[in-house]
Assembly symmetry: none
Homo-oligomer: 200 residues x 4
């Protein structure tokens, strides 16, 4: 998995050209308008070379999506669970709206086992781990009930974003994110009301 590097100068060079061209095209015409032939033309790389690395258009698009997403990392300890969750939701929002890549790919991801598997593994699971960090801290602080389920929180935080993005088309505002986070905080607040960072 590592000795590729020997012949990598050429390989890496064309790979870079392809990804750049593809990203640019997605920005301009969206994932739906993305075309292998277009990428080839724009990058100055032969169609064959693209197919050598990605099995098809969606595979390439996914690679770019992953590139985009890779930037997210767990929100650091800020001493305030609400703030941390908000930070997480904020970053997630940024990612899923950028370039319309997600919008354009959902169907393919949801439909193609191969893609959905990759998506879960490389994105879903990673995000969930981040949420876990935040929640664990929140439980420790007494902001959240000890039995708070990570997966559920993740879904409640992220689901509404996707819903707006994909279906209702309602705007993704800061106010909305706060509402969602507050709802979650409320839903998983310890019963005795001893939490330190409560919604005002």
């Amino acid at each position: 998995m590592t000795s590729d590097d020997r012949h990598s100068s050429r390989r890496a060079r064309s790979e870079k050209a392809i990804l750049e061209a593809a990203s640019a095209l997605i920005d301009e015409v969206g994932v739906g308008g993305l075309t292998i032939e277009g990428v080839a033309a724009r990058s100055g790389v032969a169609k064959t070379t693209i197919y050598r690395r990605w099995r098809d258009k969606d595979d390439l698009a996914l690679a770019i999506l992953i590139e985009l997403t890779a930037e997210i990392s767990a929100p650091p300890d800020q001493g305030d669970t609400r703030k941390e969750l908000l930070k997480f939701v904020e970053t997630a929002t940024k990612v899923i709206t950028s370039g319309g890549v997600v919008s354009g790919l959902v169907s393919e991801i949801a439909t193609t086992p191969h893609l959905s598997h990759q998506y879960v593994e490389r994105i879903v699971d990673v995000r969930m781990a981040e949420v876990k960090t935040v929640i664990d801290r929140g439980i420790e602080r007494g902001d959240l009930r000890p039995d708070t389920e990570v997966r559920l929180v993740h879904e409640l935080l992220i689901g509404p974003l996707y819903y707006r993005l994909l279906f209702s088309k309602a705007p993704l505002t800061r106010r909305h994110r706060e509402q969602v986070v507050d709802a979650v905080m409320q839903a998983f607040a310890p019963e005795d009301g001893s939490a330190r960072s409560r919604r005002k």
Copy 2:
């Protein structure tokens, strides 16, 4: 736009044939595999005739999606907000999973203004109205806070379903639906704790 219906024998006949063929095809090969040419062949209707009624493949698919969705109606008063919300989520689940139509169409809906507009109008808004009915009753009963926002509740209920359906691929179980509903109930419970139907 209106008087067609009276002497619609021909029009109606072919429309029915088209929709039936299209539905059957979606069942068999999914929305992704849906093809105008396939529908024409199967329904014995000319391609031209299909294009006369729906501007393209996605428009046709949306029509079918709407047909499916049309069945949902507001859950009747059961005297129990939790039960009513659960009922709503249950029906919604049934619809979005049926035939993989939604999975296959999301990208197109999210991406095409024309489709997303129709989707919002004919589905999102309708659902929201149903949720509103339930919530209004819930507030009246004292199960929910008076300032509970319909839109937010709707998103928190529906978002997680879509998220599982499209991305995480986690199964859509009854247990999950209960968790979601309970979280919502908790999040919007009146502060004084006087609600009648609380999660145990």
Copy 3:
């Protein structure tokens, strides 16, 4: 080119455009350089339309070859068997050398059952029938032995032409044709030498 054009449904019109373009291209670059994409570009017809009629490049080329060949017809009674055979060989020469189509197609014909079958049926058999006419008259006149075999004569007349064309590259001259015809006349001359049209 004539009054056909009026009802020449689209099909006929595009077919004509394709054949013309293909012929022109063969003239310019040979059968080897013939390309469906080239034909499409030159004829202003879509690639698909070409494939709708001919299964592939060779099938199209064969069609053109047949068009060329179709012009040959049995040499008319000239009262002189030698002259008639010469005439036959002359016409054949003209056909097989025109445009290098034959040279470029032999391998495909010889190799593909589908093509060879068509070739035999539409060309070989037709030619043989022509030779038969000439030979029958020759036998009647007493120029040839009554047991002269048509197939053999045909092969002896045509074989050397193909051999020069394809392999030895020796020029196809009038002198050569005469030698071949004379050899055949001699080989199948009646034993008693009573033939009227003998080689000088």
Copy 4:
């Protein structure tokens, strides 16, 4: 150009591997299916190495064709011109039918000056020399007319074989070869009928 042979171990080894692989492939899939990449894969030799020795696929195929053909040698004196011609035709038949190489290469040979030149030099001329030997003996014996032209006889003997092989697809039988040889004998028989080996 000559001293290579001394320290040729490596060169010779890979050349052998290539030729063997190519021959095997031709046997299996025909010349049409022959592929440099296939040869490389099968022989364990790098594509580059093949291109170093043969300018392209056809050049390689020709090399193999020549290898095959090389086996023919002039039929020895049997005291009977007819028998000797028959022997020649028989050997020729064997060669041109073996492996379908000839069928698959004709077009390329006929079309590419470079190949046709080599073919004429290394095969056509060689064969003609053999026929000359036989004819010279025949003339001496009085079986053939003194002015019998070698080239013409060669063409009359070989042409029909090629014609059947490539076009008419009629079977290459012993009977057919005899007919051809007899026709030639007859065509070039001395006028006085003094030939010793005549067809009965």
